[in-house]
Amino acid sequence: MTPQRERAPAIYRVSQWIARTGWRALAGLEVRGLANVPSTGPFLLIANHESNLDPILIQAVCPRPVHAMAKSSQFLVPLVGQLMKRILAFPVRRYQVDPYAVRLVLRRLRAGKGVAVYIEGERSWDGRLQAARPGTVRLALKAGVPVVPCGIEGSYEAWPRWASRPQLLPICITFGAPIHFPQFDRRADREAALADATTRIMDELRNLSTGSNLGA
């Protein structure tokens, strides 16, 4: 059976186009490694998180629709909540383990879709890569789908967490080669593989989020 390509909602495609074209024209947007995003089948896109711009621009440049976890409180904001759903975001409660959000990620992956997760759990305050949230790595080991590391550079400078407004500065997004972890069904096996998998993903993100010539 030929896997069907997912067609994103119209508003997703429009916002993707506006973000991509707009940022490229006004500030500069460099995209690398697009061929590393699998053209079919499930994938877990794991990115660093520097700014509010990250989810918008990653979706804007990724050749396939990506579903993404987003802070639950946004879904009750009028209009924003409706938009979030249409850009394929789903809510996660971050002050507890949210089993429904985890199940939904696995369901999306089983359906052959792409899901984006920010391994640090929240935006960096100072632009430096933070520690990985072990839950994200456990999820990757449970899912057993290709993990596409995605490094974003420059978005912190464009819109740091402590600033109220973005500045139009160049951003580089790099998709790394997929990492293939085995699928670990047993919890004990996932725990045994956790440290190595975390190191591997974080090393990739460190390389991918510092390799551009934005500062040159």
């Binding site: 759903k85 789903f90 507890q96 929240e122 305050w125 072990p134 400078e157 109220s164």
Partner: protein, 181 residues
């Protein structure tokens, strides 16, 4: 730096801080001297807001507190349930104090106490700090004159002490739940 973008000024020495290009923060002394550095460098140059030697008390600090209600709202998209969202109540303005045993919030309408050994999660969310307790209470604190990083750091240190003193081991993670080893 203030989340609303206004220039922040040190009440003790009059130095003002504002955003420069990119991640640069420009400090200007009352005498007019300017220095610009990336935020990470400023952060490294500052005293850590909390350390094992730091006093176990802080505040009172002006905050706005919101409490999550117990009823969760189901979120659907194209008839599929995609998750559950908590609904927060009205913001209540008051003062927050950290003592050796826990947090105390005082407002005109009343007071609330949260014991450190009852906390199950502690994490910043945008410019607020979210706390969850063993009883399922979730509160969101917005600091009006202080920073979320400072209070996150102070509370993390206080929880570390409390858990160690209570024989619950060394805290290794604060979100999505506090975990010790």
């Amino acid at each position: 730096m203030r989340a609303d973008g206004r220039v922040d000024r040190c009440q003790a020495c009059g130095t003002s801080y504002r955003r420069g290009r990119g991640d640069q923060i420009i400090a200007q002394t009352a005498g007019g001297l300017e220095e610009s550095r990336p935020a990470a460098e400023w952060l490294d140059a500052l005293e850590p807001p909390a350390s094992p030697q730091a006093p176990a008390t802080a505040g009172p600090e002006q905050v706005k507190l919101r409490r999550a209600r117990r009823d969760f709202v189901p979120i659907y998209y194209r008839r599929e349930l995609i998750g559950w969202v908590e609904r927060f109540g009205e913001r209540v303005e008051g003062t927050l104090s950290l003592g050796p045993e826990g947090l105390r919030f005082d407002a005109e309408a009343g007071q609330m106490e949260i014991r450190l050994d009852q906390l199950t999660a502690l994490q910043p969310s945008s410019s607020s700090l979210q706390l969850r307790t063993r009883e399922g209470l979730v509160v969101s604190l917005r600091f009006l004159e202080s920073s979320v990083i400072r209070w996150e750091s102070l509370l993390q240190e206080a929880v570390r002490r409390s858990w160690a003193a209570g024989g619950k081991g060394r805290v290794v993670d604060f979100q999505p739940r506090i975990v010790s080893k």
